[in-house]
Structures are given as structure tokens and as C-alpha cells.
């Protein structure tokens, strides 16, 4: 009895898939290069002496490997990584969402308009932040989710390719953002909101974007790999017809992935307006391509059925590390696009090579 149980137990799954292991190696390698060749920098640190006076001390730190830079890198990555997790849902299902940048802008602008009402310059500045901040959060996340729902609804109902629908909604959402703001930047929020996002943990490190990014990745990863709903997304992306014949409600799955994509765009927008303190209709322009690139570098296949939340995070991290490295190594900014484009192509080519190797290995084993 015991032995039969042992025999039927599935083979233990490796902690990280090969693809993600490869991405981790690349990240470590880039980190090592930047640590070694980045050099050092004199940074001011403010220490309090016994008398309580703040004293400025210059401390030498490695340009890359210091807490401030790494936190900053994580913050810069978080906006893209969170959206990339949502984009991975869509890409795994075999679709594409070009409207994430516009959803990000619209959600930012709507939340900013609500929060501005309760800010120091707003007409309702006397209202408690216990009410205004949750209201802003609800508007931001709610509007973004609604945008995702509209995307998914139109794709399912009209049976039009997601590329076309999201291309259309991309300009519609940005247009709405432009009309309601008349192109103006909206700022001045209740202090509690930016204070929440910019909460400082140890010696001035702002960890909230990082924590939210990790949380979203974990939830996304668990949903995709551990829940039946997540497995259905892979099934639909892998073979839509087979999934339909197997009883999977394909339309519902498709709708859910666009809702997820909208929701993650809303979370990223929330962090961004809290961190930077304002929103305008021009926000997030071109981010859709960065987000899709992050998911693809992270191993998501544009033909569907393949990808992971952790891969999306690591893909976004690689792209941002390269961005960071260009500054640290003092490379001319003019070359940044060339380098980033090359990295995307290289990553996808390596991914395909990896798949080919795996197939070959499998064929040999058989």
C-alpha cells in the first residue's frame, strides 16, 4: 500500500524552471559586472550625534551594490513588473493587451482627480484621510479593472482579435484621460497617500513598491500554477479548441485575463501616483511595449500557453538593470534603445534555443 502510494506520487517539481534559473544567472551576472566595473561613489549620510545634531558624513559606496541603489532599482522595476505579471496572464492565454499604458494613465488621472479634491488645495481638504485615501485606491483599482473588463468583454463579444480591440481602447482610454484633465497635470494629494507609498523602512529605504511587486508576483504565480483557473489559462493558450472541447469556458477565461491585466495596471498606477505625486494624460505612453517586452524576456511565448509570473518580474528586472547599468557605467544614453532592443532579441532567441534543447533532450530520452 505504502509502496503503491510512493509510486503514484508525481515527480517533484524543481523549485525554479530552467528558464527562470537562466534569468537568475543573467541577473547575477549583470549584477556582478556592475558591481565590479561600476566603481564607487561618495554619498552623504546624515548621522545624529549624542547632542542630537545631525551631521553630514561622506561615505564611499559601491555604485551598484548599495542599499539605496538597489531599492531604487526595485522601485523603478515595480511599475513595469506589476503590469508585466498581468500581461503574462494575457500572453499565456494567447492574447495581447496594448492598452495597459493607457489604462495606467486613465486610472492614474481618475485617482489623482479624486485625491486632489481632498488635497491641501482641493475643496474637500478638511475630509479625513481615512476616507479619502481608500476612496482614491478604490477609484484607481476599480477604473482599471473596469477598463480590463471592457477590453475582455469586447474581445469575447465581438470576436475580434485582441490586438485590434486593445489598439482601439489604447487611444480611447488615453483620449478620455486627456479630456477629463484638459491635458493638465493633476497633483496635490492628501499627505497620507504619498506618505503611505513612500513609507521609509530602514535608513530612508522606500520599500513599498518592492513589497507590492513581490506580493503581486506571488499571487500571480500561485494563481497561474496552483489554481484550476490558472491552469485553464495555460490550456486556452496552448490549444483553444481542445480546451473548449474539454469543457473549459474559454470566454470566461479570456475575460478574466484582461480583467487581471487591467487590475495590475491599476496597482502600478496607484504606486506611481503615490510615489511621484501627480498624474497626467501623457503618463505611461509607450509602456505597453516595455511591459510586453518584460513578459517575453521572462519567458512568455506570444503564441500562448507559456509564461510565468516570476519570469515576468525577472524580465522586467533585467530590462531595468540594463537601464541602471547604462547610467552606472556612464554609457551614452543615446545607445540605450539599441542595447535594450538587442537584449530583447537575445533573450527571445535564447528562449527558443532553450526550448529546442529541451525538445531534443526529450526526444533522446524517449
Amino acid at each position: 500500500m505504502t509502496s503503491s502510494t510512493a509510486d503514484t506520487r508525481p515527480a517533484s517539481r524543481p523549485a525554479l524552471r530552467l528558464q527562470e534559473g537562466g534569468l537568475l544567472v543573467v541577473i547575477c551576472l549583470i549584477g556582478l559586472l556592475l558591481t565590479v566595473f561600476g566603481g564607487t561613489v561618495q554619498r552623504p549620510e546624515f548621522n545624529k550625534n549624542d547632542a542630537g545634531e545631525t551631521k553630514k558624513v561622506m561615505v564611499e559606496r559601491n555604485k551598484f551594490l548599495n542599499a539605496q541603489n538597489l531599492t531604487n532599482l526595485a522601485k523603478d522595476t515595480s511599475f513595469f513588473a506589476i503590469m508585466a505579471v498581468g500581461a503574462t496572464f494575457v500572453i499565456v492565454s494567447g492574447g495581447i493587451d496594448l492598452s495597459v499604458g493607457a489604462v495606467y494613465a486613465l486610472a492614474s488621472v481618475l485617482a489623482a482627480l479624486v485625491l486632489h479634491q481632498f488635497g491641501a488645495d482641493g475643496p474637500r481638504s478638511s475630509v479625513s484621510s481615512a476616507l479619502s485615501v481608500p476612496l482614491g485606491l478604490a477609484v484607481c483599482l476599480g477604473s482599471a479593472t473596469l477598463c480590463g473588463l471592457l477590453n475582455g468583454g469586447m474581445i469575447v463579444a465581438l470576436k475580434v482579435h485582441p490586438f485590434i480591440i486593445t489598439l482601439g481602447t489604447m487611444t480611447i482610454y488615453r483620449g478620455i484621460a486627456f479630456v477629463i484633465t484638459t491635458g493638465q497635470s493633476v497633483g496635490t494629494f492628501p499627505a497620507a497617500f504619498p506618505d503611505l507609498v513612500k513609507w521609509e523602512a530602514f535608513s530612508g529605504l522606500r520599500l513599498v513598491p518592492l513589497l507590492v511587486m513581490v506580493l503581486v508576483t506571488i499571487v500571480g504565480g500561485v494563481y497561474l500554477t496552483r489554481l484550476a483557473a490558472g491552469r485553464r489559462i495555460y490550456a486556452v493558450g496552448g490549444n483553444e479548441l481542445a480546451s473548449r472541447y474539454s469543457g473549459v469556458r474559454v470566454e470566461r477565461v479570456k475575460l478574466s485575463v484582461y480583467v487581471m491585466s487591467g487590475l495590475t495596471a491599476g496597482i502600478a498606477a496607484l504606486l506611481a501616483i503615490g510615489y511621484y505625486g501627480s498624474a497626467s494624460s501623457g503618463d505611461g505612453a509607450g509602456y505597453e511595449l516595455d511591459v510586453i517586452a518584460s513578459a517575453v524576456v521572462g519567458g512568455a511565448s506570444l503564441s500562448g500557453g507559456k509564461g510565468s509570473a516570476l519570469g515576468a518580474l525577472l524580465g522586467a528586472l533585467i530590462i531595468k538593470m540594463i537601464d541602471n547599468g547604462i547610467v552606472i557605467l556612464g554609457i551614452d544614453q543615446s545607445y540605450s534603445r539599441i542595447i535594450l532592443g538587442a537584449v530583447v532579441i537575445l533573450a527571445v532567441t535564447l528562449d527558443q534555443f532553450n526550448t529546442w534543447l529541451a525538445k531534443r533532450r526529450l526526444t533522446k530520452t524517449v
Binding site: 561613489v41 497626467s280 501623457g282
Partner: protein, 462 residues
């Protein structure tokens, strides 16, 4: 006992992969070394050396031999190490240059003493030793003679090198709105020229770190400012795409001891110490006043205004509207916004002219459509046009008569003046007299356009 472990240790010393006993050929010597220059560890002598390695070892060995053979050095005190190194030197037959000159497998045949020398006590070795001694004596005497002159020379050279090494260095971060806009490329050239000029003037090294987003993106500008601060920039000059979004990043930089100057587009609520820009409201007023003059004080005017998000453009539009009130014969048809690319702007002008053929004047608060070749389709002189900016492609419209006046911003000075203000602040500890350093507009007409065009040869990147 030879174990794989201690064999690896040996290989690490020599930087060569292990040669297995069974695979090794004639240059493998049986036996063990008892000494290495750096270690007394015992290890098996099973390596196969390349020709270059043999040559290097040979050199080492020869130097040691000459030193040890000196009369001041007694033979019994010699290191065993040299002797052991010497043992692996001769190449056996078929092993390359110098092959077969000695017996590779001879264990005790080669030594350092006179008795071991194949030439005997009066052989080649003794001749080399005496030659080296002669050289050393001669060199020592010369150095003694030069000593008095050499010391001060070395001290001066050391002083110069130290001064160079201690030369102060400043890094100025330059964050413009977008890489694609030539006005910001001119600002970059201005900043680089200022770095060179001021560096020479004050004896410091100034580096310009250009960190401008590819397209206009305030969030990326804020990230660039944060990265520049972390990267140790001494000062930052920025043209703000969105003042609200950059205010926090600028304040954070200032808090970290990095002064920030703004140019072109300001962040008035931030802690930047100075802004260098035109007065946008006055700029708009000047555009309208000049246009009204060309139109004879009457007609219908369209305003081309670019990106509605840009606060500086909004102020210029406000200036245009303010000035229009002074001219009762002038009416403004509308303010037209568009994506800030030459093609979009040209398309917008064409579209507006098609829909409103009664328009007799264009007030352009930025010269976007004039970057294309045929943006203005009307007959020269039938519609009057005044535009801000006077870049080389825009000058062609002055020549053709489509545009009556260009009001040039001092785009080169955006970079040059910003760096100058920052260096004054950082190096000379001098604050500007006013937090607003207003830059004047240069009127460019058909008469002075050739003289003005020559500036661009200097301003644009080579």
C-alpha cells in the same frame, strides 16, 4: 603519495590543466619537488609545460643562478628551489625550440654549482657573471653622479602627477525632455562646451552626464534624477516635462546635497536654486504683438500650441490671448493642440486651413511644423506667420516668405548657462542674484537669418 587533490594544487600554481600520468609524454619528470618559491608544499612533478612556460622558468632560474653563484654567496646555502626549477628546463628531443640540448630525464645532471656546470669553472657562466657585475657597477656610478639632479626632478614630476591626480572633478547631470528634439541636442552641445571652457578656466574637470528619456516622459526624468544622485552627480540641470511629477525628485536631490537648476521648463514649487528660461507669458505676448504688426492689426488668427500637457506652452498660449486683447481687429479662431512631431503639426495646420480658409495669421508658440519641407501650403505673404524657435530647417520658411518672423530661444545657452550657474554654485559657492534667470528671445528675419544660421554650425552636435 600523489593524490588528485595535491595535483590540482600544483596545476593552480602554473595555470595549466592537469596532465594525466598516462597521457603525458617525454617532458614529464618522475619525482617530486621539495620546494616552490612561494610554498614548501610537496607535490608531484607531473606537469607538462608549454614552450612559453619553460622559457619563463628558464629566465627565473638563470637570474637565481647568477645571484647565487656570486662569491658572496656560499654554494651550500643555495635554495633547493632553484635547483629543482632548473631540473625541468631542458627540452627533450622533439619538444620545440632548444630541443635535445640536454637530457630531460637526467635527475642530478644539472645543478648550479661549478661542478654541475657543463662548461666547467671557466665556462660561459663565469663570463656572463662578470659582464653583469660590470654593468651593475657602471649603472651604480652613473646613478650616483645623477643623484643630485634626479631627486629634485623626480620630486617635481611626482608633484605634477599628484596635482593632476587631485584635480577636482565635477559631474553635472543633464536631463532634457527628449532625445529626439534638436533644441535639446543644442543644449547638450552648450553644456559640453561650458564644461570644457569652465573646466579650463577653474582648473577642474567637468563631465556632462546626459540622461534624457528617448521620448517625453516625466516619470523617466524623475528616475533619471534619482539615479544621477545615487551615481554621485555634483549638480543636475533639468527641463521638466511635468513640474508636479519632478518636484519630489528635485527636492530629494537637493536634500542629498545635489543642487538642481532648471532650464526651458521650470518646476516652480521645487527647491531648485535657479531656473534659466524665457518668460513664457511674455514670449506669447511678443508672438501676438509681432503677428498683429505684420497683419496690420486685423484678421483671424489660429494658435498652434503643441502638447497641451506642457505648462510652459500653456503660458505662451495665455500670453498670446492676453496680447490679442490689445488688438481689437484681431480675433483668435482657436488654439490647436497636437502631438509634438513635425508631421502631426504639419497635418494639423493643413487640416485647420482646409476647414478655416479665412485664417490670415498663425501664431505658433513652437515651430514644430516648420521642420518639414512643405508644411505651409499657402502663397507666401497671403497668410502671416510668427513662430517661436529658429532651427536650421525653419529658416527656409523665412527665405521663402511663408514666415515673417522667428523668435529664437537661446537653446544652446540652456545647456551652457545651466552648467555655468551650477559650477558657480558648486565650485565658487556663488548663488545667482535671482532665482529666475530670464533668457531673451532673438528676433530672426530674412535680413539677419544668414548671420544667425552660422550659429547652428557650432550649436548642433558634430
Amino acid at each position: 603519495m600523489r593524490t588528485p587533490k595535491n595535483r590540482t594544487k600544483l596545476i593552480d600554481c602554473r595555470g595549466k590543466p592537469p596532465a594525466l600520468l598516462e597521457n603525458s609524454q617525454s617532458s614529464i619528470l618522475a619525482g617530486e619537488f621539495h620546494c616552490l618559491p612561494t610554498s614548501n608544499a610537496r607535490f608531484p612533478l607531473t606537469l607538462t609545460l608549454s614552450l612559453r612556460e619553460r622559457e619563463q622558468l628558464s629566465m627565473l632560474c638563470d637570474v637565481a643562478k647568477f645571484r647565487l653563484s656570486s662569491p658572496r654567496c656560499e654554494l651550500p646555502k643555495r635554495s633547493d628551489c632553484t635547483a629543482n626549477l632548473r631540473r625541468i628546463l631542458p627540452l627533450p628531443l622533439g619538444e620545440g625550440r632548444g630541443e635535445g640540448k640536454d637530457r630531460a630525464r637526467r635527475r642530478h645532471g644539472i645543478g648550479l654549482g661549478r661542478e654541475a656546470s657543463p662548461e666547467g669553472p671557466f665556462g660561459f657562466e663565469a663570463f656572463i657573471i662578470s659582464s653583469l657585475r660590470f654593468c651593475r657597477r657602471s649603472l651604480t656610478q652613473r646613478l650616483d653622479a645623477m643623484n643630485l639632479k634626479l631627486v629634485p626632478t623626480l620630486l617635481v614630476a611626482f608633484g605634477i602627477l599628484s596635482a593632476q591626480a587631485q584635480k577636482k572633478s565635477y559631474t553635472i547631470g543633464l536631463v532634457a525632455k527628449s532625445q529626439n528634439n534638436p533644441v535639446f541636442q543644442a543644449a547638450r552641445v552648450g553644456a559640453t562646451d561650458a564644461a570644457r571652457d569652465l573646466g579650463g578656466k577653474y582648473g577642474v574637470e567637468i563631465k556632462i552626464d546626459w540622461r534624457t528619456p528617448n521620448e517625453e516622459d516625466a516619470q523617466k526624468q524623475a528616475e533619471a534624477i534619482e539615479q544621477l544622485v545615487l551615481n554621485g552627480a555634483d549638480g543636475i540641470a533639468v527641463s521638466c516635462s511635468d513640474a508636479n511629477k519632478l518636484t519630489d525628485a528635485i527636492n530629494s536631490a537637493v536634500k542629498n546635497g545635489v543642487p538642481v537648476a532648471t532650464f526651458d521648463s521650470d518646476a516652480p514649487n521645487s527647491k531648485r536654486f535657479v531656473t534659466y528660461a524665457i518668460d513664457d507669458v511674455k514670449c506669447g505676448e511678443q508672438v501676438m504683438d509681432e503677428l498683429a504688426r505684420f497683419m496690420g492689426g486685423k484678421g483671424v488668427v489660429a494658435v498652434l500650441a503643441g502638447n497641451q500637457n506642457a505648462p510652459n506652452l500653456q503660458k505662451r498660449v495665455q500670453g498670446v490671448k492676453n496680447a490679442a486683447k490689445k488688438h481689437p481687429g484681431i480675433s483668435i479662431r482657436d488654439v490647436y493642440y497636437h502631438k509634438e512631431t513635425p508631421q502631426d503639426a504639419a497635418a494639423k495646420v493643413e487640416q485647420v486651413m482646409q476647414a478655416n480658409p479665412d485664417i490670415t495669421g498663425w501664431a505658433m508658440v513652437g515651430g514644430w511644423p516648420l521642420f518639414t519641407d512643405s508644411a505651409l501650403k499657402w502663397q507666401p505673404g497671403t497668410v502671416k506667420c510668427v513662430s517661436v524657435d529658429a532651427l536650421p530647417p525653419e529658416l527656409a520658411y523665412l527665405r521663402s516668405g511663408h514666415v515673417q518672423l522667428l523668435l529664437a530661444q537661446q537653446v544652446y545657452e540652456w545647456g551652457h548657462r545651466s552648467v555655468e550657474l551650477l559650477i558657480n554654485k558648486i565650485h565658487l559657492r556663488k548663488d545667482p542674484p535671482n532665482a529666475k534667470d530670464v533668457s531673451a528671445l532673438i528676433p530672426v528675419t530674412r535680413e539677419n537669418m544668414d548671420a544667425f544660421a552660422k550659429n547652428w554650425e557650432k550649436w548642433l552636435p558634430k
